[in-house]
Point group: C2
Chain length 247, copies 2
């Protein structure tokens, strides 16, 4: 944001757009943190707060869109300013989805609280912490317009995908061992999937930020660690379950 | 598109943008149709074609984004033309996600082919047909700039959500009855979830189209039929499984 525009209020508008994105990202990240806490502590009240809080994130997305449309109409931005306007639209859309996934984790935690605890829950806060760290670093990278930091976050998504794939297989094994675990494990499967999707949206933001800084797309194919859609766990009697993953 | 611009090539550009969106939507819809066929016919070759074909949809999204950025920079569109540019960005992003979900269904169909067939597969083509009809009607509504038709599609998403919730419960019951069904049913759960998400993205397009036509947001709260995240199926011995849904 070193550039200076003739009209000072234009710079202020661009700054306000940036601040709103940071604010939206901060809320999305803390919503996700609270949702994970709701799962771990089996706290349905906290989960309800998260579900109700999602409207804040939605409203900020609409606010950002109005700001961008007004800016495009009145300021007719060029070059980097134009890229920033488009980037703001795309980033706010990804943050809105992250907020949705947080609310979805919260909803499922309420259902989980009606089932007996199952052991694989331990993996959720690990995945959640990684997601939160990725979002936080990405927001820092956005404020600093640091494409290298964005790239580093983008690369960490592989770790998240690997955690997800491994949890997916573990959950299938648990279900096969004892059908009483099925309901809880199914909700955990979707919670884990939601976190894996949060990672994908964070990498989308990394790609947008990279384009914003360099004006060229981040072309490198993203390493894909999520192979759960190819996982096959053979049905076996309790105690004999074995997991196989077809790569 | 009755408006006439002084520069004729500008109208041609707007028309080309529309055509590219229609083309992208057509490919996304046929990708989804082929993915469903791959599930039903247990056809891994077809599934592989769908997975490989997703790059076409991705490329069209990038093409639309370049067209819009160029248009914003060179034409500085106002009012409805500006709304159309923003709408094109949003719609192409939703279509790209629909393409991703089609590819994901195809991936899971390959995993499904390694497990014995399970009965609840029958519900997938029903959900798939509804998704395809919604996408097709939405693309017609887009070409005709018909906000009422868009609203009708938007309302049909409730039916899709209800199909999903009912299939979700049925799949849980199947898993509880026989652990040998767990792997197949888990992949079906995610296939059904993918189709439910296709419906959500189609309703997003409806909202964008409504805004494009009327210049005001579609504010009505969408009826939400997907209550699967609240579903609890008590673990029970085979034959005694019972499903309960907490609304």
């Amino acid at each position: 944001m070193a550039s200076e525009h003739i009209i000072k209020s234009y710079d202020e508008e661009l700054q306000r757009l940036d601040n709103t994105i940071s604010q939206m990202g901060g809320i999305a990240e803390s919503q996700l943190g609270a949702a994970i806490e709701a799962v771990v502590k089996r706290d349905s009240d906290l989960a309800t707060e998260v579900i109700e809080g999602d409207v804040q994130v939605d409203n900020l997305e609409r606010e950002i869109e109005s700001m961008v449309v007004r800016m495009l109409a009145l300021r007719q931005p060029m070059a980097r300013d134009l890229r920033q306007s488009i980037a703001a639209l795309k980033i706010s859309s990804d943050l809105e989805r992250i907020g949705d996934y947080a609310a979805n984790v919260a909803k499922r935690s309420i259902a989980l609280n009606q089932t007996p605890p199952v052991r694989p829950v331990y993996a959720v806060p690990r995945m959640g912490r990684l997601c939160q760290a990725m979002i936080k670093d990405m927001l820092d990278a956005y404020v600093e317009r640091d494409a290298d930091k964005a790239l580093a976050v983008w690369l960490r998504d592989e770790e998240l995908d690997e955690m997800y794939t491994s949890l997916f297989r573990e959950l299938l094994t648990y279900m096969i061992e004892d059908p009483r675990n099925i309901t809880a494990c199914t909700h955990l499967l979707f919670i884990a999937k939601n976190l894996e999707r949060v990672g994908d949206h964070t990498t989308n933001i990394a790609e947008t930020l990279y384009f914003l800084v360099h004006g060229t797309p981040l072309v490198q194919a993203r390493p894909k660690g999520d192979r759960s859609s190819l996982a096959v766990v053979r049905g076996a009697p309790p105690g004999e379950a074995e997991a196989e993953t077809e790569a």
